[in-house]
Symmetry: C2
Subunit: 334 residues, 2 copies
Amino acid sequence: MTVSLQDIALRAGVSTKTVSGALHGGSARMAVETRERIQKLADDMGYVTNLAARGTRQGWIPLVAIVADELITTPFATEILRGLDNAMQGKDMAVIATNLSAGRSIEQVHAEVRRFRPRAMAYAAMYHKVVALPPGLADGFAVMINCRDADGRVPSLVPDDEGAAYDITRHLIARGRRRIAFINLPGLLAGELREAGFRRALREAGLDDAGARVLPAVARKTYSDRAHSLVADHVPMLLDGPDSPEAILAGNDRVAMEIYAALRRAGRDIPGDVAVASFDNQVDLATRLDPPLTTMALPHREMGRLAAERLLSDELNPPAVQKLAFRLVERQSV
Amino acid sequence: MTVSLQDIALRAGVSTKTVSGALHGGSARMAVETRERIQKLADDMGYVTNLAARGTRQGWIPLVAIVADELITTPFATEILRGLDNAMQGKDMAVIATNLSAGRSIEQVHAEVRRFRPRAMAYAAMYHKVVALPPGLADGFAVMINCRDADGRVPSLVPDDEGAAYDITRHLIARGRRRIAFINLPGLLAGELREAGFRRALREAGLDDAGARVLPAVARKTYSDRAHSLVADHVPMLLDGPDSPEAILAGNDRVAMEIYAALRRAGRDIPGDVAVASFDNQVDLATRLDPPLTTMALPHREMGRLAAERLLSDELNPPAVQKLAFRLVERQSV
DNA sequence: TTGAAAGCGCTAACAG
DNA sequence: CTGTTAGCGCTTTCAA
């Protein structure tokens, strides 16, 4: 049924080794005539390399595995995978992604995936977080994406949330806004870091960071898309209170969208009365809001790209935690 | 370094066959005592099955491959993959997905992927479309997802666009709306089918389908997210013209979002003055619009689930083209 | 119930 | 420059 090197060798009247060399043997010196004859023959016979067989010899299959903490379900994950995929193009590596869902521990999934003998594995998280990797797995992953190992033993790629909040806040200040409120994502590492960056920017600008209003976007302890939103309560409260804000910073673009609706209901103009800025750059949304939303784009693509590098390199002393900068995408809401 | 069956056999003082049987041999009869002793030993020694090696023997690796027409980049793709992934859970199958990007032909990618000796392959498209599979590949794919083979030789799973448009239009009519406009997606099979369903529903209700207004959402020949939108022009024109519509059907949720903005600018209430309905159910968006959007959810998850079934079955005469129903998600815009 | 040996398709090492 | 041989880790006969 399927044709093997041996079959070709038989037909060509040479040894399997010769065929192997002719087809895969890189720059091995060999009569050009023979090589071409064999390549033609292989083509005609419909030969397809058997990577599984090669794998037994090499000890690994040209496969890179991502163990994802629910990651694959989010639109952002696709950006990470895209970055990875692009970087893998031409490297002759396939990407295999597994979700860490429903009652499967990291160890279990790690072991399951390892059976395929991938070249390397990465761990990826949906939200920026700290992950406590089980002891035995310290060197089971070549890199952690969008998260970092609690023990700091595995090289990590994380977004620089603190810096991003600092940057966007400075941007708002530079545009003349001084009273800035922040409707943040509660219970998330990203939110915590962003609050720090927000306050640092205020302090540096000589604004009162002690009095700064940082409010949670939802009623739950931890932000979730489905949790009951508080935006519709917060915004009128902010507008009617003392020191009505000149700008509102949103925890993400969906929150920003709700802020738009609330401001509109209150009859305020964006950005005339109140500027709005945010984090994520969920393109579908941000470009279609009216006015289009100024927001900090997460470095997802970049993470994927760097992860690919790390996965393919054999470097011994990779950097521990690498913080990746967001990108300010200026539209018309500021 | 890595421990093999032989290593265990040596330590246990039995043959490799015995170890193989003990660890993977299903219900093969064997001294329970021996089996348990070996399993324990394997565990202690940190044994991990080598699927590549097993693969040489079986002829395939427990892997299912998706060749995707740009698919992975869209949020909907994740739904298909999720459905697939869920269905594969417990089947001990991994999913490997490859993009068909930048100058790589279907044949090329198919051959590349086949080298891994996957159990089966599927072809998936981003938009509902007809794909002309190269002659040789007719049985290279076990199933086509979100598209169908031009020659109808490969079993296909496609969304029932015609039926969905029919259903949502009937829904609008049932809610008392008679003058309905449709801002559709030009140049796409989905749009074509939906227009047919839309018109069928109008005809059946005794409404004038000849005079029905079906307008393209963008200026380009083929719809794209980035093409220049015509919504802001169409909506006022419709409202100010004769027979101002009581409902507007949108080609997708993003278009619906723009319709919301245009109606708001014109001072119309949704759904008081004009009802809005749509296709996609892009949850982030649809639930957050004000009012939340009534829309037809695409059967992506279902496609993934059914694809998994087809990929794992050896059935000889699978159904040719299977149309999957959308699901009406009622919110407050109608 | 267990063991020995062959073979899956490939590549690496060593001869010729 | 090409051929022979051995072996990767596993499963599958066929014997014991």
